[in-house]
Structure formats: C-alpha cells, structure tokens
C-alpha cells in the first residue's frame, strides 16, 4: 500500500528551551538523528502525543538549519500543556511539511522586508527571518518590529539581542505593552508603534500575531500608505488532516492547511471574515 501521510513518523525531542513563562522551544529530530523532512519557511508540521491529540505547529527553525527542526509552542490547550511537560529524550510523532509557506523564492526575493510580530506570532516568522539572514545576497534590508506583553514574553530574546540586533542590514525595534523595571526600550502596543516608526512603504511586509493585533496594525499600515497586496500573514485554525480533506480549516473556498497558512491580505479580502 502507498505511503500514507496521515500516519506519522516518530520524532525525538533533543532539546527544550524555556523562552518565556508560557513558551517553550523544542528541538526535534528523527530516530536516525537527522531532520525528519525538509521544509520551506512558513510551512507547518503536525505534532502529536498519542492518546492526547495532534495539532498543527509552524516550524520555527529555518530550512538552512540542516541539523534539526525547532518548534516554539505556547502552552494554551490540552496538547500544548502535555508538550510543555515533556523532558528531553521524549518521543513524539511528527508528519509534514504542510501548507504553502512564505514565497521566499518568488515574491520576497530581492525585496526589502518588514517583519511585524506580536507575542508567539514570532514563531512562524523566525523561520523566514533566519532564512533571509542566511541568504542575504537574495534579499534587501530587513526591518523587524516585535512586541510582547512584557520583556519576559519576548520569544527568542537571546537570539534577537545577540544575533539579529548585531547583524548588519537588520534593524530591530522592540516594544512591550506596559512599562517594566529593567526595560528602557519602547512601551506601547504594536499597531501604534508601527504608526510611530513609519516604516518604509516599499517594504514587503510579513505579519503574524493575535488576530486583534493584526487587525489594528493592518488598519494603521493602510493609513500609512501600505497596500494589502504587499502584506503577507500566516493563519491558524483548527486542523485535523493538514491536507485539505477533513474540511474544518476553510476560510471560504480556501483551506488554511493546504492553500495557506500564508495568505496575502488582498487574497483574504475576497474571503469571508471567518477567522
């Protein structure tokens, strides 16, 4: 019988990093110690703990990382709570890659890029950011605007400070929602921060975060003069099969798992507002 994508493979968790109070980043390889599969930035994998459930997670690591995959996962439901209790060496199941991914080899190529992320919304963008940093020759400058509730909630803070901020051609602007001791950076919500920063209108934008943040940021950006057709986002809805068959993650006639999760806002504008 043919290979069945719905039957997962075994993955081993080889490293666990506590990023924020409720976000952990898991490093996963196959039983042979190698990457389970190759992916494009923005694509996802179905991770599961047998008996607990299966869920779609964006692959946080860049495909240029040839050793392993990483998943930054926020604890918010049944499965993610279980994942957060795992110890190194734990096996899980993994299948993928799923979804379209960001158009790193087409629309984004040669462009100046602007990344806007809120909270755990950085997870899918981190894959693109590191991909672009590793293949600098193919892309223009990179501007990253990232915000979280507090300093402690900034995912990958160490990597941001030590690698992104020191990288030539990368500008990083951070913000947190409320003032906090030890923080001398910007304080305020992302939508207003973006309006204050007035990013370069020629940039191609990749945005991800809570729906409410995306909504207000997009409104503000349109006021600044950005067009919907230059803004990409990545979506997440309840999924089961991840291959466009089980029927639950549709927005209009598009399946987030198969036709997405990456959409351009002018595409979303033609679809029902059910997300």
């Amino acid at each position: 019988m043919r290979e069945e994508t719905l039957i997962p493979k075994v993955g081993v968790v080889t490293d666990i990093r506590q990023d924020t109070p409720d976000v952990k980043t898991f490093r996963v390889v196959g039983l042979d110690g190698k990457k389970v599969f190759e992916h494009i930035p923005g694509q996802c994998a179905m991770l599961s703990v047998p008996g607990v459930g299966e869920g779609m997670f964006s692959i946080t690591s860049s495909p240029t990382n040839i050793e392993f995959m990483e998943f930054s996962i926020k604890k918010c439901g049944c499965l993610t709570s279980w994942l957060h209790m795992m110890e190194v060496g734990q096996q899980i199941t993994i299948r993928g890659p799923y979804g379209n991914g960001f158009p790193v080899e087409s629309d984004l190529k040669g462009k100046d890029l602007l990344f806007i992320a809120g909270g755990i919304g950085l997870a899918p963008l981190r894959s693109v950011i590191n991909y672009v940093r590793d293949k600098k020759e193919n892309y223009g400058s990179v501007h990253i605007i990232y915000g979280s509730r507090s300093m402690d909630d900034l995912v990958d803070y160490k990597e941001i400070i030590e690698e992104w901020c020191t990288d030539a051609g990368v500008t990083v602007d951070l913000t947190i929602d409320r003032p906090q001791e030890g923080w001398d950076g910007h304080v305020g919500f992302i939508p207003s921060f973006v309006e204050e920063l007035k990013p370069d209108l020629s940039r191609t934008v990749l945005i991800c975060g809570p729906p409410i943040m995306i909504k207000f940021t997009l409104d503000g950006m349109k006021k600044l003069g950005f067009k919907e057709s230059q803004v990409f986002t990545t979506m997440e809805l309840r999924m089961k099969c991840a291959i466009g068959k089980c029927g639950r993650c549709n927005i209009g006639n598009k399946y987030v798992c198969k036709d997405g999760p990456v959409f351009r806002f002018d595409q979303l504008a033609e679809l029902p507002d059910e997300y």
Binding site: R2, I7, P8, Q90, L237, R238, G247
Partner: protein
C-alpha cells in the same frame, strides 16, 4: 448488454457472492432499506433508496488509521492498514454513484487518501436505474440521469428481466464471469429508460436548477440576509451530514484501548459546535455560521474548487431526515430568489 430473468436474480447474487462479498439493499424492517451483505434468503429491496447513503463502503463512519505503542518516552507507530478484500455493491442509485466521484475528487486528490483508495480499488459498483423515483428526488438538477446510472455495471429492471451493461473493464470482467447471463439486445432497456424519463419530468422538483448558484459571487452568497431565517430553527445536530452521500468531513481522534492508543477517524459535522473549536477560541460560534458553512461548502466552495461541480447529488435524504425539515432545496431556492 446482458440479461437474466427476474426470478433468477437469486442465482445471480449467489454466483457473485461465491467469490466476494456482495452488498445489496434489503428491507431494514424500520420503514426503509439498508445495504447488507447478501446471504441465502436475502430479498433485494426496490425502495427508492437506502436510509443511509452508500458512502459508508468507501468512507465508513469510523475507521482505524494507525496504532501506537507508548512505553516510557518511546513511541512505536504501527501501520494497521490492510488490503481490503474485493466486494461488490449492487443496487446503488444514480445519485449515490455520482457521490463517489465527488468523494474521489477530495480523497484521491494529491496526497491520496490510502484508506479510501484501498476500498475504492476493491469495490465494484452495480447501479440500478430508478423505476420509481420519488418526490424528494432532484438528481437531475445536478445533471444526473436516473435512467442511465453510472458505475462499473449499470442495471435496469423491466417487468420480467434484469438487464446489465458493463461500463468499465472491471464491470465487463465480472459480467463475463457470470455464465447464467444471456445476451440481450442493446435496446432492451429502452422502454424502461423512456418510462423513467417520463416520470422524472413529472417529479415535483423536476425543474429545480442550481444555475442561480452560479449567478452571484462567493461573498454575495456568504453575506446573504437569508441565512438567519434559514438557520433559525436548526438544531445543530448532524443528521443531514451523516445521511448525506457527499459530506466528507472527518475528525481524527485517539482512543486508549487499554494496551495502546488507536488513532481513528470518524465522520464529523460542520453543524457541530466544536467543529472549529480551538484552544484559543472558535471561529464559528453561532448556528447561523455553522449552517451557512455546510451549504456554502456544497453549493459554492466545492464548485469553486472543482470546475463548477456541485457538492450535492439530489438524493433527497436530508429532506426526509432533518428533524425540522430544513434542507438543501429550501436553501437553494431561498438563496437564488
């Protein structure tokens, strides 16, 4: 075309069942018909259709997908799939035969669903023309001809004979293996077909057409003010979904068997409140949204993605079984109006 006298149908069934399982509609003793495996004494039911659709043969309500052995931190994935044995389904109506094509376009599209494909490859469909279509039938709206049902073998019943015509190589092979069949004139079924066509033209829903569903945009239908009224008394049960031959959504769940974990899938319904429930919230919180999703899928989304083919075959099961008598015909008429 082949033929056999109606009083020898039992011999035909026995011959087919000798080499593989033969399913056919029988009286269910519950005001309807159901598909059941043929055994000596089984009587073919000429009911307008079975209460449950024929999709179960390829997409059963519950099926195991894989099992897992979990020991300490280790997991073993066990592929529990097995090659299905050949089987024949006799007496499938034209509407249900068409539903397989609709399921095919989902499950056989890349990446192919091997569970479905396995059953599809091993199943042989013998369809039966509808001598007595009923008031809830509207297959002709979707271009289906109940007088000429598709399938591996098409059958017709005259007053005295069962006529059989192979439509595929698989069907041809089966017919050739059945020695009790006699050759029939190519026109033997013409009178029956003509009689069926005449009745089809008189059905109360004979003039129903989905053409209006192509006249407006996705967003216009989605935003229609008719949804509120159409969905107001919907109970949010899954009856329409589960009797529907084209409803294809499924859920994947894990089940603790006591000595491992069985991952299985089961039919799901977009009418259910937890269909889109995520840890972070639900994208469809009202029955209006859920109701709209089901009909938008059949009448707009599916055709958009499948060259204009509608996700309904007009079998009328939802018309008979909805507890509050809401159905796709009422929805189509309201949306088009």
């Amino acid at each position: 075309m082949k033929k056999i006298s109606l009083d020898k149908m039992n011999e035909l069934f026995a011959a087919i069942a000798a080499s593989q399982t033969l399913y056919l509609p029988v009286d269910d003793g519950k005001k309807g018909a159901k598909f059941d495996a043929w055994k000596e004494g089984a009587v073919y039911s000429t009911a307008a259709n079975t209460s449950r659709s024929a999709k179960d043969f390829f997409f059963p309500q519950v099926e195991d997908m894989a099992s897992f052995k979990v020991e300490g931190k280790e997991i073993e994935v066990i592929d529990t799939r097995e090659e299905t044995e050949d089987f024949v389904v006799f007496g499938v109506r034209a509407c249900d035969a068409k539903s397989f094509e609709i399921l095919d376009s989902v499950y056989l599209a890349d990446p192919v669903d091997s569970y479905y494909e396995n059953r599809r490859q091993h199943g042989l469909i013998m369809t039966m023309a509808c001598n007595k279509p009923t008031d809830t039938c509207f297959c002709s709206a979707f271009g289906i001809d109940a007088a000429n049902p598709a399938g591996d073998i098409s059958c017709w019943m005259t007053d005295s004979e069962l006529l059989l015509e192979a439509c595929t190589e698989k069907g041809e092979a089966l017919l050739n293996a059945l020695s009790m069949l006699e050759d029939a004139d190519a026109s033997a079924a013409d009178d029956t077909k003509a009689a069926i066509k005449s009745i089809l033209g008189k059905l109360p829903l004979a003039n129903l057409s989905p053409d209006g569903m192509k006249q407006k945009s996705l967003m216009e239908f989605f935003g229609s003010d008719k949804w509120a009224e159409l969905s107001e008394s919907c109970l949010g049960c899954g009856t329409c979904t589960f009797v529907c031959p084209t409803c294809q959504c499924y859920d994947i769940r894990d089940y603790d068997t006591g000595h491992g974990v069985m991952r299985y899938r089961c039919w799901d319904s977009c009418m259910y409140s937890d269909f889109t429930l995520c840890a972070h919230g639900n994208t469809r919180t009202t029955q209006l949204q859920r109701f709209r999703q089901r009909f938008m899928h059949k009448l707009v989304y599916y055709p958009d993605n499948n060259n204009g083919v509608f996700g309904c075959v007009g079998c009328g099961r939802c018309m008979r079984s909805c507890p509050i008598s809401m159905n796709i015909v009422k929805v189509m008429k309201a949306l088009e109006g």
